[in-house]
């Protein structure tokens, strides 16, 4: 091999490496863009995948030396909607009570940095809760590129422009589809799939589930018989097939994004409020406060079969998260970790009442039912609290949200942003 040949080969190899490097950079940029697009905020109920999970890294934070730092806190009107965040703006549902029988529900936008209100738009009259649990909207807004979709406590699905809250379209579930208001109000959060807003409507004439064109609100499809409940649909990709999962009454439904029923499964309990939890690649975890408490099904060839059921996790209104083979959630009023394989209790932590939790990186972000914000390890080994702070005061039943290093919490009277810092 001559020196020239060696040089040519070296040059060739360098060129190949150069192109390979360039290709890799461009490809990774695309992937990065796709991921960025997918996780550009806490844009709907339970976050991007409706799993209550943020993949933002917290590894740089030494929680033994830091506490969540208050960014802002403000008084708001009653409502249970989670806080959604994207592109520097915080969106949630609030309400305003005029007198004992009059009031309104609003979709409102606030500055992510300061909490200052940017706009609010009226979507419906207020839902007054007869039992006194709390008034206002229950469902969480769903944010699209251009629109925001909300469901009021009285069952009005509304589309507004994201930029200024302008009205686009609205459907009244009770008047148009014969839905019956569930006790404690409509609570199912909108889901966007393939340009359609997917809703649990609970209407008559096989209109339990419906899809609406997100641009003009036209009905795209309707399906199944079932009541309006408090549960929200989940989008899951199982065996390469995107499917929308509804826990409705005593039936677990899987529908194709086009509305056809893929499979159904008869659940051992009804009335689940906690959203189904997807355990990749093909399992679903469901829990309710009724016996048996929880079950896990495996979906193969469009058929769901029971893998496990037990009493070690009973969710009331707060949903679980899945992390590395374990389920973390509120067993009635105690934070608990159970094995997703066996249901075995790994640990239990009391004292947070009927709170809620999400997962960020490998940390549990817990909000107690009295507004205490806690960071703990998401580990089956033991409950280990990293830090805690009294974030908001009063009954706090809405799960926290997380985006861009900040935790967002709210209850019926106030809303706050806390930065997790080193």
């Amino acid at each position: 091999m001559t020196a020239q040949t060696i040089l040519m080969k070296f040059t060739m190899k360098t060129k190949i490496n150069y192109w390979l490097l360039l290709f890799t950079i461009v490809f990774q940029s695309f992937i990065g863009l796709a991921q960025e697009n997918k996780s550009n905020g806490w844009t709907q109920f339970r976050g991007a995948e409706r799993a209550g999970v943020s993949t933002e890294s917290l590894s740089h934070i030494d929680f033994s030396k830091s506490q969540p730092e208050l960014v802002w806190k403000k008084t708001i009107g009653s409502g249970f909607s989670e806080i959604t965040v994207t592109e520097g703006i915080v969106y949630t549902m609030i309400s305003e009570i005029v007198d004992s029988i009059t009031g309104y529900e609003y979709l409102a936008a606030f500055s992510e940095e300061t909490g200052e209100e940017i706009w609010r738009t009226k979507v419906d009259s207020i839902y007054f809760d007869e039992d006194g649990w709390g008034d206002g909207a229950r469902a969480t807004p769903c944010i699209d590129e251009k629109y925001i979709f909300t469901l009021s406590g009285h069952g009005k699905l509304t589309a507004n422009l994201k930029k200024d809250g302008s009205f686009v379209w609205q459907h009244d579930f009770k008047k148009e589809f014969g839905s019956t208001t569930p006790r404690w109000g409509f609570a199912s959060s909108p889901l966007i799939v393939n340009g359609n807003v997917i809703m649990e409507v609970g209407g008559t004439e096989e209109r339990a589930f419906m899809a609406f064109n997100k641009v003009n609100g036209d009905i795209v499809w309707s399906s199944s018989v079932g009541p309006s409940s408090h549960d929200s649909p989940l989008l899951a990709n199982i065996e390469g097939q995107e499917q929308i999962v509804f826990a409705n009454g005593r039936t677990l439904y899987s529908l194709l994004p086009e509305g056809d029923t893929l499979w159904t499964y008869s659940m051992p309990f009804g009335g689940a409020t906690a959203i189904p939890v997807f355990i990749p690649p093909n399992k679903l975890f469901l829990s309710a406060v009724r016996n048996p408490g929880f079950f896990i099904v495996k979906v193969e060839n469009n058929k769901a079969t029971e893998l496990l059921k037990g009493v070690s996790m009973k969710n009331d209104f707060s949903s679980c998260i899945y992390h590395d083979g374990y389920i973390y959630g509120f067993h009635v009023a105690a934070v608990r970790c159970i094995s997703a394989e066996t249901g075995e209790v790994k640990w239990t932590k009391r004292g947070y009442g009927k709170g809620s939790l999400i997962l960020v990186d490998d940390k549990l972000i817990i909000l107690s039912d009295k507004g205490k914000l806690v960071v703990a390890d998401a580990s089956p080994d033991a409950y280990k609290e990293n830090c805690s702070i009294q974030a908001i005061d009063g009954k706090s039943w809405t799960a926290p949200s997380f985006y861009n290093g900040k935790v967002y919490v709210r209850n019926l009277t106030e809303m706050a942003s806390y930065k997790l810092i080193d």
């Binding site: 009442g353 009295k370 009954k395």
Partner: protein, 394 residues
């Protein structure tokens, strides 16, 4: 045969020894449990406790106060969510005002609730003097709770209700109790957890008690405990409804003068008699009176208040014709006016003569009653009798 006798002998001995060991263990464990709570001597000196703190129900934290006595009495004022609740137990029966049941006045406790009040009324542990109280205790195998090995005792109260207690083997203090509780008056199983044990006045008590039953969660965070407080025993008695307390002026023994309206339109004293008015139930006054008119009127009159209808109610039994009449009434212009215009028996053949009974001129030791009739459904009332009540001197 000899072998059989030998086997029986061994079996009996084994059974007796096992029972003895078990009993030894139970008594030993309970002795350590009582000692962990401060010991018998310290508790012998405690007749009552006033506990105050914060109680959380439906995720809403509110003030809480409870009084307990060593006679098994219990009284508490608390909030369930935003609704104020009062409850009392005299050791056998009790009452509550619980707006969650949509009843705003005191009501008697149900049997399922009474079992709960036996638990609430414990000064510190049901194992204290358990034999004297007719309780039975059995030692079960150790169990793991929240990753910790626990001593397990099964308690059977003298009312037959069973509880399972989990004691920390290091401290002998209670960690958890499984018992029967109530949710909206219906029996449900409950788990109670005890924490934050503190020493006060030489005794040890949990300052954090969390109970879960069905989907409910209740947390009591005690802030202060006072011992041997002065107690007004009337707090354990079921209070009368506010409206019936208004009528309490009628209670007592009375001299009664009976006047009737003559045909000439003047009043004429027809008889003098006596009347006794007493509480026949918490919310029912009963009057027994007899006087002469054309015939002897033997009357038994009951007064109560119907909260649902927001009306006073009177029943008036006349022994002359075995006739019972029902009246509803209200308080207006310093008078209680009862009438039977609104009482319809559905029999249109009956002659419609209505009565009105007006209690007025109410004073501490006197009041008057006027009885009128109407034949035009209350358009006009014609006075017929007046009864003047003067309290008998003792």
């Amino acid at each position: 045969m000899r072998l059989l006798k030998y086997q029986i002998f061994i079996f009996i001995n084994f059974f007796c020894i096992s029972s003895f060991i078990n009993a030894q263990n139970v008594d030993d464990i309970i002795a350590k449990h009582i000692k962990a709570h401060g010991g018998t001597e310290a508790w012998e000196n405690i007749q009552s406790m006033k506990v105050s703190g914060k109680f959380t129900a439906f995720s809403i934290e509110e003030d809480f106060v409870a009084i307990k006595t060593n006679k098994g009495e219990y009284y508490s004022e608390l909030y369930l969510g935003k609704n104020p609740v009062k409850e009392a137990f005299n050791g056998k029966t009790g009452w509550t005002i619980d707006p969650w049941m949509e009843i705003l006045y005191p009501r008697d406790l149900k049997k399922t609730e009474i079992n709960v009040f036996y638990q609430k009324a414990e000064l510190f542990t049901p194992f204290y003097k358990y034999k004297e109280r007719g309780f039975e205790v059995q030692l079960l195998d150790n169990e793991e709770v929240d990753g910790m090995e626990m001593i397990v005792l099964k308690l059977k109260r003298n009312n037959g209700m069973e509880e399972k207690w989990y004691l920390d083997p290091d401290t002998y203090l209670e960690y958890k109790c499984e018992s029967n509780w109530v949710d909206f008056t219906y029996g449900v199983p409950a788990e109670t957890f005890f924490d934050d044990f503190r020493t006060i006045n030489k005794v040890v008590l949990p300052y954090y008690i969390e109970r879960t039953f069905w989907q409910r969660n209740r947390v009591l965070q005690i802030e202060n405990i006072e011992f041997n407080v002065d107690i007004d025993e009337t707090i354990f008695e079921m209070p009368r409804s506010e409206q019936m307390q208004w009528l309490s002026f009628m209670e007592g023994n009375w001299d009664v003068k009976v006047d009737v309206m003559t045909r000439r339109g003047t009043w004429y004293t027809f008889d003098s008699t006596s009347s006794k008015i007493y509480w026949d139930a918490t919310n029912m006054l009963c009057e027994k009176i007899s006087y002469d008119l054309t015939m002897v009127q033997n009357l038994i009159i009951n007064y109560t208040y119907n909260a649902t209808a927001d009306k006073f109610v009177m029943t008036r039994f006349n022994g002359l014709a075995s006739e019972m009449q029902l009246f509803d009434g209200e308080y207006t212009d310093s008078s209680y006016i009862f009438q039977n215009i609104n009482v319809d028996y559905g029999d249109t053949s009956l002659a419609k003569t209505y009565s009105q009974i007006n209690i007025y001129n109410i004073d501490k030791d006197s009041f008057d009653v006027e009885i009128s009739v109407s034949q035009d459904k209350g358009e006009t009332w014609l006075p017929r009798q007046r009864l003047y009540y003067i309290r008998k001197q003792r």
